[in-house]
Point group: C2
Chain length 436, copies 2
Amino acid sequence: MDFLLFQFGLCTFKYDHAESKYIMKSFNFYIFPKPFNRTSPDVKFVCQSSSIDFLANQGFDFNKVFRNGIPYLNQEEERQLREQYDEKRSQANGLGALSYMSPGTNKRPSAIPEDQKKFIEKVIERIEGLLQNEESTNIQLEPCTGFQRKLIYQTLSWKYPKGIHVETLETEKKERYMVISKVDEEERKRRGQQKQAKEQEELKDAVGFSRVIHALANSGKLVVGHNMLLDVMHTIHQFYCSLPEDFSEFKELATCVFPRLLDTKLMASTQPFKEIIKNTSLAELEKRLKEVPFNPPKVESAEGFPSYNTASEQLHEAGYDAYITGLCFISMANFLGSFLSPPQNHVSASSKLIEPFFNKLFLMRVMDIPYLNLEGPDLQPKRDHVLYVTFPKEWKTSDLYQLFSAFGNIQVCWIDDTSAFVSLSQPEQVQIGGNS
Amino acid sequence: MDFLLFQFGLCTFKYDHAESKYIMKSFNFYIFPKPFNRTSPDVKFVCQSSSIDFLANQGFDFNKVFRNGIPYLNQEEERQLREQYDEKRSQANGLGALSYMSPGTNKRPSAIPEDQKKFIEKVIERIEGLLQNEESTNIQLEPCTGFQRKLIYQTLSWKYPKGIHVETLETEKKERYMVISKVDEEERKRRGQQKQAKEQEELKDAVGFSRVIHALANSGKLVVGHNMLLDVMHTIHQFYCSLPEDFSEFKELATCVFPRLLDTKLMASTQPFKEIIKNTSLAELEKRLKEVPFNPPKVESAEGFPSYNTASEQLHEAGYDAYITGLCFISMANFLGSFLSPPQNHVSASSKLIEPFFNKLFLMRVMDIPYLNLEGPDLQPKRDHVLYVTFPKEWKTSDLYQLFSAFGNIQVCWIDDTSAFVSLSQPEQVQIGGNS
């Protein structure tokens, strides 16, 4: 979870019934948590030199990520930013004092300290001057500290709840200064709305790429990935919230964010594909599915979208991986359609035929639990052939092999210096082992 | 220490007595710990999005760092890599079996396992064929596993200590295969030397940028930096070794690596400069030293080296900062020469005049210990006016200000929720405070 997702590949497919072809749009999003303002989270993340080197060798454009990466916020960060805006707005609207005294907070309006009284009095003098002078419509105050601006906002919202408009602007040198304008009620409202609309835009920009994920999640579309468990985890962690410690809570969260997931690696490892497909790595799977008994689908990229050529070695970018993952799914789904009578050339994402593969994510490095089941309890394989073994701490794996040499092949899973799980290749051998 | 130094700026200055000018060469090294081979360290490092964003806004070229950054090794990593080469070489030289049985290691030559015997026998058959066939000079074995290659090396070094040369090469697909050639003694030696020379080159490349730092350290030259404590720490940590926990050990290590350091921020904050220079930040210092009573030096860049123009806003790159740091040092050193009789226009780096500034590094955020003294004990200012205060955990800084309001200004340094150091502005007030 200390690592960062830099590039997000997405490829959409839409079936054109009239032409019996798929129209695809592929996207490569470069994303980076650029700090939005001075109070926004300053994300620390870990890089590993081997991964950086791998990406560099693939021609990955780091400048594009770091200079022009799309920002994003998770839901908590979005909520906080929204609150900041609300608070600022209510201050500016003359509701400042009230909101500061809302129950549950211990913030109170600051009393004006002795050394600031003169400063505030001068500001009020200038405003009185403005209100009495029919020729000028606004005054611009000298840049001042954040604390002074807060005092000014407070004082003015109490003293002039209507009739003036207060705005904080920035000089080119990033110094903040205030502009105070005379406005009638209508103008005041109009300006407030204008500002609010602008803030809404800023907020949208800050939420940035998270909006793509929200749209994806809320679309109800089938989301297909290849060996996608880590992708799902990173996506939720980066764009929604921290992952829960509890396993069943994670399952609930994942199905809540993505109600329909399908993992092509799991699909290819399951009947009826298991017998036909030897290598389920994405590149090999894509090649295999071009040959009989499979039918590669007819796919065209939508106008204005890049097209990929699967025949030539492609840059290893996320959008391309998303594209060939989609191709694999379509080929396998359509293959299932060939068993129907009459056979179907196109199997849609809402077909009953693919439901058995929903929400089961491929599990790596576990021999006898092929998938993580997001929608219910996981498979519980027998563990009768697994022994818990303790030994002197000088022992190595080779000593364990020697000890069990009479029982054929074993698998060793180390627990610590002096214990390990040893699994025998055939469960019935455990009875024999029990006597030794 | 989790952060990484990406760019190292260095600028050398040489005085041309005949022309009374300085010749400078400035360097911007982009450095990155690219993994050298499969066993080399895979550095993990932390990035902070605000720092990345700062660099991106300065136009920093991340692709250059990650794609073409110069690698480096610290001394321990260099030692390990050298050992790996030595071990590989002694194996290939037919000393493999012997070195495996050297005392102190528990590695032993592997017995050939049952399932590999046939494989090894076939290899030996092919070699016997090669030795008896006068027309062919070498054979190429099929790619095989690392374990098989190890077995082959072992067997051959025992069976054919001379007369054949064994080499492991890589196919384009990165599969490793062995080539076995007939060679007479002389050819065998020549090849061995050739290989060793190539390995030495590879090793040099892997040590990479560390060699620049070693050259700098071993040069005995005065090394000048501005506010350089963190720079010195990062440089030692990245190119020499982990920093010691113990403070005095750090001092010893630092002076051992860099025997003569000079910090221009400390110099500018010390008499006689202290009175004349108000702002000691690098950019401001550089500007101030262009004006009376200082004399900006005449500096030219050496042929083929970039020149910087200090009048225009420059890209904030490390080489430029090194350059203006050098300018600042020269101006200040030459200023000291103006007090001599007769006055000296040029004060060299070996002049007694600058010795008082050696090996004292500017300390930030400490009011009364201006520098860290690398060559001896640090200044021990009186702490009579500092009180240790405990209080309820609800207390804030403002409560402490109120408590001590009778004693003028105070400084608060928090220890934890319920205690802090409070320093009064005048030491004699402590007696009064002691009664309360």
